[in-house]
Symmetry: C2
Subunit: 88 residues, 2 copies
């Protein structure tokens, strides 16, 4: 992905944020008693994608997160219940 022409640093892949999201997702998933496979199946997604999200391999779309929140029956905001660390 191209660097912006402006001097502003571009965060393409917000690793810290994605780690926090992954952590929260896993916590909620386990609290609700779902395996990755079950969550995938119930969400109409693949097991691969759940694993990719939870291991911070990809940058999921918002609709993907909506799907997970629906299956887990939690407010979307619960999956983002963290403070983003300051960027360097």
């Amino acid at each position: 992905m191209k660097k912006a022409t402006k001097s502003k640093r571009v965060l393409i892949f917000d690793e810290e944020g994605l780690k926090l999201l992954a952590k929260h997702l896993k916590k909620v998933r386990m609290a609700k008693g779902y395996s990755q496979e079950e969550l995938a199946y119930e969400s109409g997604m693949t097991l691969s994608q759940i694993a990719r999200i939870e291991t911070v391999k990809i940058n999921p779309t918002v609709s993907t997160i909506f799907k997970l929140a629906r299956t887990l029956q939690v407010p979307v905001s619960d999956l983002f219940d963290f403070k983003l660390p300051k960027e360097n």
Copy 2:
């Protein structure tokens, strides 16, 4: 995008959710006194992308939303402060 082989309906593009997100983003943006152009510039993004998000033309990635939240200096969860409608 292919239909899942399971009978589960697949939400590829969660239009209702994205509309709610767009609405919240716009509200926060205006409350903070940013034009789309300024928000784009400060976030290291393009004006096009802000417009696409706010008009529900695309399905943004989570990192994109993180970028916006950082610039707007709000918790990410504030941008998701809504209930997803029931899926049909």
